[in-house]
Symmetry: C2
Subunit: 325 residues, 2 copies
Amino acid sequence: MSNMIKIPTIDNIKNARRRIAPFIHQTPIFTSATLNAISSKALYFKCENLQKTGSFKARGATNALLSLCELDPPNAVATHSSGNHAAALSWAAGINGIKALIVMPENAPEAKINAVRHYGGEITFCRPTLKARETTLNRILEKTGARFIHPYDHQDIICGQGTAAIELLQSQFLDAVIAPVGGGGLLSGTSLAVRALSPKTKIYGAEPAKADDAYRSFQKGHLCKITNPNTVADGLRTNLSELTFAIIRQYVDNIFLADEEQIIKATRLMWERLKIIAEPSAAVPLAALWQNLDSIPEKKIGIIVSGGNMDLKSFGLFNPERQEN
Amino acid sequence: MSNMIKIPTIDNIKNARRRIAPFIHQTPIFTSATLNAISSKALYFKCENLQKTGSFKARGATNALLSLCELDPPNAVATHSSGNHAAALSWAAGINGIKALIVMPENAPEAKINAVRHYGGEITFCRPTLKARETTLNRILEKTGARFIHPYDHQDIICGQGTAAIELLQSQFLDAVIAPVGGGGLLSGTSLAVRALSPKTKIYGAEPAKADDAYRSFQKGHLCKITNPNTVADGLRTNLSELTFAIIRQYVDNIFLADEEQIIKATRLMWERLKIIAEPSAAVPLAALWQNLDSIPEKKIGIIVSGGNMDLKSFGLFNPERQEN
């Protein structure tokens, strides 16, 4: 397969940026004196949690959708996702007057279901297995003629996700950039952009130790899959694809792991010090940095804060039971 | 008393802005399509929760401290506060190499105590009564020669707090600005700045119904005090002073109340939609807007998000007991 894989170019990513610019936010970059002191680094947090739909996924979804529309506008697009891609595709389709058909497992969290509905996506529930998901999606594609937009195994998605790194690098020179890695769409797009625009900047992936397929694939040099990983970083439970692995293998300098406890600690410190809602997946780069300081000598480090979508109802203040006390 | 009160001018506030500019953040202004839709308004959130020390109080504290230093640099400054002013003054003093002596009630929340210590403030605890607080502070002032910087009953504090409104108005024309009101430092400074720079813009205060001293004072035309109000908006439990009331009475167009349930709902929606940590006090303007839509016809409304300091340990993810499940 590998020799058939076409890797996007920096021009593809720059085109993506022009295409999506009218629709997405150029997100701010935050710093914290306290987080710098704790980490002994100068950290620059690219806040994609403040992106439309609350994650970087709005970039890729918008690019994939607009690219389709330039060639042959579809009546509908479809995907399977229980996470941020589903919400982002629903939103991107909605603002372009196109239907979004989303296959979700019947046990998907209520907050994710609500987000997709909020943006106008039409949900079809399936049993929570990979097979049921694929069967249901294929049935929908055949019945409706909708175009499938994969969450990450897709050229236009990868190019869209790479646009955040362009903005990050435009702000200043960085010694390294760290992005979280799940299916690899964000990390592969980031690595393509950083390598082309700032060849001396190191590119690191950060992954939960409990979902370490990218780490193991990177170490062994061939694609390793894991099934049903259980990590609090729910956005990073997916496996790399042939395409994202081919890019990561070529352009990424290293992949570092983060334990659950560090991920939770990093999430809390980002809330407390940056005053932003970052989801656990978005705190994995900071957690991985803390756990691997010996292997990361670089000083000025950009971190992509991938998203901020999570269920907040367990917070004491928001908990109706609190009223009864 | 009233005829002896000197009200700051817009030039005082502009001078404050120049004075503090090298030390504080020009905070961003956020918008949310969903919050706009819910409110039937165009809302512009001035994010002072992203300010140094996590609240607008850094503006006033820095201005008061630098103003003192211009005349006669003190060895130490002192204040009584169990909240954001204590942290802000500790920080502003610290970066100028001056001691900050803070009187706090012995039952102050751990998070607030930690914040003051983090910024280098020296805490003296006292019994949780107004009398103990004043006695303790006076003893410290006599013993150390420290200069007292009141949290809001202070010209330079008011001028510093007014600088956030200058930044907000520079971004675009607004039909109205809403600021929360506790002791009145932020609202009085905001009203002075807005009235001078944008005479047609309405100026509203927002207050918890459970701590409605400013509302009642404004309605009755004389200063009304309340004791020990119990509201989740812990930054807004204080009473107006003669000085802040004199300014508010003259320049503010109206004061609106918010119930506890609406304050909590507004806090949660700001977390969910803006992806920022806003403390309940900072959600009072949005809550008061929702409760008083019939009285607020203005469309483009600036809201000052006063701070983001709160204890996050009750959140399920951060709760160590969760690990045992």
